[in-house]
């Protein structure tokens, strides 16, 4: 009796304890950086301006191709501040005004902004409008003042503006009446109050406007006709002379407009360059007295002497980048040249008027994987002996940014990582015997000390120093960044392909770059454009001595029917194993679910003529492929005419190409959407490698539903053509969204739903048997998320346990997609607050763990939302049984819990994609979000039910055991003594 009455409350206590284990999955502030890392980038630098402030920290302001403006520390290359402008707001020019404002011109010259140099706060914003679109030019004359106000001269939208540097007020503006006048340069000769605007009208007319910089008054307008026309590029050689090329690219024209008089001077290139062949192009530069042209791949520097006389000063065969001129004293201007020569780069700084003397001549060893230098920016400093020192900022082919000073690389930034195109994950090598295990464990005392510190931390007894020690201990843990596989599968390599055509391997532990590889250039293909990344060879666990490899698919040139290039890269070493230049284009890549005996995955490449090519080209692969020949189906989407087509293989290629790995395709079906009412905006399929644990879903009432799990389902969303624009451009009545589920083998539409008054953009994710998609509801003027779940009805009668036991079920019967599937679908919609940039779903090793949606919001954060919130079975008043099953009462909008932002207080600036990779541990999934920034973390959607949490205190466990043992001994002693006393009595 008594025993029982004691036990019941105890058990209840235990139960209560387990159920109350921290209900929210989230992070404590001191856990930041333990499992996650965040890297900030800016992208390929377009323009750089050095801050010439005498005091304070030296900075360089850059604008990039990712549309970022940033202030970087010149000493270490760190970001002080950074702003990512909108995608329609492309930066045209940057400069520094008054030494304390960063001026940016963007949006095709219509927005001029000023930012505070120290902290990046926007100071003012000015909108410049004009009659028509034109080249945009930004000019900040250093000593031009109107009423003590420094002036910014902007030419944009065919109008010249003078803007106050203090408040962005437009002081004056000037239109140019000439029809078809195209401005090329705006020149402000230093020390004068004049502005020259030069350009071309029609194709053969050179125009020059002389304008008073104080009030915008037109002083002079001259034009001259040159009969054979111009190429649209000018090089400025002095404030009153420009150099242009004629339309054939063979005659150099020196145009001077001194005192408003235009005079031409023609010099055929063949006169000054002996063996010139082919048309020349002008390399834009602004070095006084010197300009550069490029013929084929030879860069030629030409000096202008006196009245239009030209002289070749140097011919360079290597890839060369030239900087702009930098005034180093009143009369001297310096510029820099960077040349690529094998494993080195040569830096030269020269004075503009004296070609033969070098101010600086250095050679620096450069990593081959950085490619050739693309851009160079020069800055000087005064050494202690009053001579000039130079620092050069160079932008390499792989988009990295390096600062060179005194013959060494001071810092470098891997800004290619700001533009990731594709990501895949790879395993790390298995740990070899005798590698670094001992190093990790150091000694028992250290280990105990660490745990005592941790214990102090949990008991809140730690002093601030202790807390700091604990934090650094946790962050440093060498386990994390070890170059070997771990038991839980947390350590992996993320292989990323960047827009520059470079592959990087990032370690998931701390995000460091393990190796990088610039895609090999061959004679056939000078500039491969990286497209996709596939896992080529993933050795099975019994062939661990082999290295896995990835397949990089690139295209030779910008057009979509350019021939493809395949590269195979070893993921352990980053070495390119092989490279194939194809003779066909690559439009679509289909990784097949088959591998050959060396674990190479079979890939089918579809070219622009609808031929399918099999890779690898081995007879073994062909044998495997032949067996599966009739089971291969794929689809193609033709966006422009709203057609989705299904394809299958027909026979060997007929025609001129006699290749046994080439196959003809046939069209099986096509779904044609009415082009006047529907336009395809999104198509999503399931991830190929997704694991589904069970097909059955047990309901609260002991009922079973079978998920319709097919790899051949395609989700398609179409919108009304009118509604494919921006929000606000269409009324609810004339916009709708139609969602389809299409079987890609038969082309059968399994489900179709219309959302009236809805608009794109549509972001969708497909997993298991459900699709979640996000769109805009124009009637409520809110974003909405919908879920569609699809269930298989043909198996619904397998509910009887006895049938299952006796084997009288149809679960093992073959399913053919050609028979009409009996499916039922359920769907539901909810409001969602934010705009969405990307949407993904967690994936785990076996698919047992419940799923979370990862939603990249417009604020560049990633929100984890439990799939249970998007369950079509939610109702306003769930029954008791449904509640037990975990069904949440229906609400009209999805909750946003700040603690479930996986990026916590960080932003993944310019978020573009979210990738999830399963860890070996079932509960955990690895999440990688990329944009301009990179962010990586581990997530456990149902908490880490299969391992102890990171903050589990082993010391407390030990102490408890010791205490218990001690208690046993003490009580044993006590009871012995008591027994003895009893016996004496």
């Amino acid at each position: 009796m008594a025993i029982r009455s004691f036990f019941v409350p105890f058990l209840l206590l235990v139960l209560w304890f387990y159920s109350s284990l921290s209900p929210v999955l989230s992070l404590y502030e001191d856990q930041v950086g333990l499992m996650d890392w965040h890297q900030q980038y800016i992208g390929k630098v377009k323009q750089a301006v050095f801050s010439t402030q005498k005091t304070g920290r030296r900075r360089v302001i850059v604008s990039t191709e990712e549309n970022v403006i940033a202030s970087l520390d010149l000493r270490h290359g760190e970001i002080f501040w950074r702003h990512l402008l909108g995608s329609n707001d492309v930066i045209d020019g940057i400069d520094i005004g008054l030494g304390k404002y960063v001026i940016t011109l963007s949006s095709g010259g219509s927005i001029l902004r000023s930012w505070n140099l120290p902290d990046g706060q926007m100071v003012w914003e000015s909108f410049l409008q004009g009659p028509k679109h034109s080249k945009s030019l930004l000019l900040l004359p250093t000593n031009l003042k109107i009423e003590k106000d420094n002036v910014i001269v902007v030419f944009s939208n065919d109008r010249l503006h003078a803007v106050s540097c203090i408040d962005g007020e437009v002081l004056w503006k000037k239109d140019f009446e000439t029809e078809s006048f195209e401005t090329q340069q705006v020149i402000q000769p230093p020390g004068s109050d004049l502005i020259y605007v030069v350009g071309f009208a029609a194709s053969s007319q050179f125009e020059m406007y002389q304008i008073n910089a104080r009030n915008g008054e037109l002083l002079k307008h001259e034009s001259a006709i040159f009969s054979s026309g111009f190429l649209r590029e000018l090089s400025l050689v002095s404030s009153e002379t420009v150099v242009a090329l004629d339309s054939t690219g063979s005659i150099l024209l020196t145009i001077s407009f001194q005192n408003g008089e235009i005079s031409f001077q023609q010099t055929p290139i063949s006169n000054i360059v002996e063996d010139s062949s082919g048309p020349a192009v002008i390399i834009p530069s602004s070095v006084p007295g010197i300009f550069a042209i490029k013929i084929n791949s030879v860069t030629i520097f030409i000096r202008v002497i006196g009245k239009g006389k030209l002289e070749v000063v140097e011919k360079l065969n290597q890839e060369t980048a030239v900087s702009n001129a930098l005034p180093i004293s009143e009369s001297q201007q310096a510029f820099a040249l960077v040349q690529h020569a094998g494993s080195e780069i040569h830096l030269v700084a020269k004075l503009a008027h004296d070609w033969d003397a070098n101010l600086l001549k250095e050679s620096i060893k450069m990593d081959q994987q950085r490619g050739i230098p693309h851009k160079v920016f020069i800055n000087n400093y005064i050494r202690t002996d009053r001579s000039h020192g130079f620092r050069l900022l160079i932008v390499m082919e792989d988009h990295s940014l390096l600062l060179l000073q005194q013959g060494a690389i001071v810092w470098s930034r891997e800004d290619g990582l700001a533009s990731i195109i594709d990501v895949t994950a790879s395993e790390l090598p298995v740990e070899r015997d005798g590698v670094s295990v001992a190093k990790v464990e150091h000694n028992l005392f250290e280990w105990l000390k660490g745990h005592m510190l941790k214990l102090k931390g949990t008991l809140m007894l730690a002093s601030p120093e202790d807390v700091a020690a604990i934090q650094s201990m946790r962050l440093k843990s060498s386990e994390k960044s070890k170059m070997a596989r771990d038991h839980n599968g947390f350590r992996k390599l993320l292989i990323v392909l960047t827009r520059a055509g470079k592959l990087f391997a990032l370690h998931t532990g701390d995000g460091h770059i393990v190796w990088s590889h610039l895609l090999h250039k061959s004679e056939a293909c000078q500039s491969p454009v990286g497209l996709n990344l596939y896992q080529w060879q993933v050795p099975h666990h019994h062939a661990l001595d082999e290295n896995p490899s990835v397949l990089v698919i690139s295209r030779c040139g910008p057009s979509s029917d350019a021939p493809g290039v395949l590269s195979f890269v070893d993921t352990y070493t980053g070495k390119e194993l092989n490279s194939l230049s194809l003779d066909h284009a690559v439009v679509q890549v289909i990784p097949l679910p088959h591998t050959d005996s060396t674990e190479q995955r079979l890939h089918l490449l579809i070219d622009s003529d609808k031929h399918a090519h099999l890779y690898p080209k081995t007879s073994e692969a062909l044998g495997i492929f032949k067996r599966e020949f009739s089971n291969i189906y794929w689809y193609s989407v033709e966006d422009h005419n709203s057609i989705i087509k299904g394809h299958a293989l027909k026979c060997k290629c007929t025609g001129e190409v006699a290749d046994e790995f080439c196959f003809d395709a046939r069209d099986l079906w096509s779904v044609v959407f009415p082009s006047e009412s529907e336009k395809i905006t999104a198509t999503v399929t399931r991830k190929l490698n997704e694991m589904v644990h069970t097909q059955a879903k047990v309901m609260a009432d002991q009922d079973v539903m079978y998920k319709y799990i097919s790899r051949n389902l395609l989700f398609v969303a179409t919108v009304a053509p009118k509604g494919s624009g921006e929000i606000g451009s269409v009324t609810p009545e004339e916009s709708w969204l139609v969602a389809y589920l299409i079987d890609i083998v038969t082309g059968r539409i399994l489900y179709r739903v219309t959302h009236h008054g809805a608009q794109g953009p549509v972001h969708a994710v497909f997993s298991e048997n459900w699709v979640v998609y996000h769109f805009f509801n124009l009637r409520a003027h809110r974003y909405e998320m919908s879920v569609i779940e699809i269930y298989d009805q043909s198996r619904a009668d397998n509910k009887d346990v006895w049938k299952l036991v006796l084997g009288k079920h149809n679960l093992t019967s073959r399913i053919s997609l050609f028979s009409r599937p009996e499916v039922i679908t359920k769907s539901q919609s909810y409001f969602f607050t934010h705009s969405v940039k990307a949407i993904a779903v967690t994936s785990t090793a076996k698919g047992i763990t419940s799923k979370q949606l990862l939603i990249g919001t417009i604020g560049d954060q990633v929100l984890a939302l439990d799939k249970r919130f998007l369950d079509p079975r939610r109702s306003v008043n769930p029954t008791q049984a449904e509640k037990e099953e975990g069904i949440i009462p229906l609400t009209d909008s999805l909750p946003i819990i700040p603690q479930s932002y996986v990026t916590h207080a960080l932003r993944v600036e310019g978020l573009r994609g979210i990738i999830t990779v399963p860890a070996k541990l079932e509960s955990t999934t690895l999440v990688f979000a990329h944009g301009v920034d990179l962010f990586f973390t581990q997530l456990a959607p149902s908490r880490t039910y299969d391992s102890l949490t990171e903050d589990f205190s082993y010391a407390l466990l030990l102490i408890t055991i010791v205490a218990l043992v001690a208690a046993i001994f003490v009580t044993w002693r006590l009871s012995e003594r008591k027994e003895l006393q009893d016996k004496w009595r």
Partner: protein, 200 residues
């Protein structure tokens, strides 16, 4: 920076023209973002924080930054119903629908989409703070007791010190009967100890 924040709070604008017909092709939306001091707990309104707030029109069509006084503007906006979102780390802003009407330019019509509250002028304030981290509970003896180890120790103590007391308080006759029963049964099985497993 602090002075800017103060300025932001002190400047009280009676009228803010929200929508005006701009010169050129479209209309202009002017508005302002205001972060009340009371809302942000100490340390949340960091200097430089204002500079990172973005105002986004129609899901990314135009992105604008704030001036030091919190004002922002969008130019060349066509007539129609638009959506403005504010992206600020640490605050939850409701998106705002703004109607730009072609018929009577200058007419203000804005409403928060989250709670359908209308705005008389386009002043956007956060609905609430967002705290991204769990707060660690301070050390308390209850936490230790509640931990599995604490429960184990507690159970041991109870068994060691309370059980003998319970046994003592039993009626001696009942005790004898129980002992007899035990003897008859032999070794007591675990089932009889568990609740519901015993017979009485």
């Amino acid at each position: 920076m602090a002075s800017i924040a103060r300025l932001l709070l002190l400047v009280l604008l009676s009228t803010a023209l929200t929508v005006s017909s701009g010169s050129g092709y479209g209309y202009t939306i002017n508005g302002r973002v205001k972060i009340p001091q009371g809302l942000g707990t100490a340390g949340l309104v960091l200097p430089g924080k204002m500079s990172n707030i973005k105002v986004i029109l129609n899901g990314g069509q135009i992105v604008s930054y704030l001036r030091p006084d919190g004002y922002f503007s969008f130019q060349n906006i066509p007539a129609g119903t638009h959506l403005i979102e504010v992206a600020a780390i640490g605050y939850f802003f409701s998106p705002v629908r703004v109607d730009v009407s072609a018929r009577n330019p200058g007419k203000v019509q804005a409403a928060l989409t989250e709670n359908r509250r209308g705005l008389s002028e386009l002043v956007l304030e956060p609905l609430r703070d967002e705290k991204y981290y769990e707060i660690r509970e301070p050390f308390s003896i209850m936490n230790v007791v509640k931990s599995p180890m604490g429960l184990m120790v507690g159970f041991m103590l109870v068994v060691v010190f309370l059980m003998p007391k319970l046994v003592e308080n039993m009626d001696p006759e009942e005790m004898r009967r129980a002992q007899e029963e035990m003897r008859n049964q032999g070794v007591p099985s675990l089932a009889s100890l568990l609740p519901g497993g015993g017979r009485n």
